[in-house]
Symmetry: C2
Subunit: 133 residues, 2 copies
DNA sequence: CTGTATCCCAGTCGATACTG
DNA sequence: CAGTATCGACTGGGATACAG
């Protein structure tokens, strides 16, 4: 897999077969249950581990750790350890992470403004299914 | 989930608690393994079941059926049966589906153009991890 | 052709306990 | 505070077989 400095067209449909997997793997991280929420919180500034945990609410320690490690691996967040007692770890969006904010918010806003339409569609669909049985 | 106490960024944060689940459920459909690809293919026009199956390649009959059913339920695609022998079923994006194309492509294009950055970050991260053990 | 129904494995996630 | 380790429940998804 190499796409060095190729003039990347802005059309997703033109990707090569090999790139498909990478794109899918990144896309699946976005679709991950906690990723979007975590990024949205970090947009406001650096956060500590438990700070994020509290803000997210429903997440387990394990999943937050996994989510953050995944984001760190992909270069979206940085992890900064301050070796005090007790230890302090700050997570912060990288430049790449901040650039992700734009498309993520586009998607979030689309979702938000179409919630009624989707709900209506689901209700209608479910009602039809019910009548079919 | 509490996103409502900070003076932050976009509309996505303004949602009410109850809507959070809906937003998450829609978002998770986007992150679904086959959804984005399927939508991208349908952007070009209506497609039949096996036509989609062939184009996607790696998908099983079961997953394509489930994916399409989910999209239909959310009002993103329509399913049109032509009762001939053999039967013919066409799937087509609704207006809602076509509007989804914009944010999806934004995300896709971000992903596509940042593949090198992410790959580099992963490689760097993995190397560091390796050295730590 | 276009599905639905079953079986089954691999991976995911939460809860809990333990460590530095 | 900030994790890692482990276990068990649950689920996604492929393969296969069958039906309209």
């Amino acid at each position: 897999m190499k796409l060095d400095n190729k003039p990347v067209t802005s059309d997703i449909r033109k990707h090569l077969p090999g790139e498909c997997q990478i794109v899918a793997s990144i896309l699946s991280r976005i679709g991950d249950k906690w990723t979007v929420l975590t990024i949205m919180l970090l947009v406001a500034g650096p956060k500590r581990f438990n700070e994020l945990k509290r803000m997210i609410g429903g997440i387990s320690q394990r999943m937050l750790a996994l989510t953050l490690r995944g984001l760190e691996r992909d270069g979206v967040v940085t992890r900064t350890v301050t070796p005090t007692v007790p230890p302090r770890v700050d997570y912060e969006l990288t430049e790449l992470g901040h650039s992700l904010r734009v498309p993520i918010e586009a998607l979030g806003n689309w979702t938000f403004s179409n919630v009624p339409a989707v709900l209506e569609a689901r209700e209608k669909f479910d009602k039809q299914q019910k009548g079919k049985v």
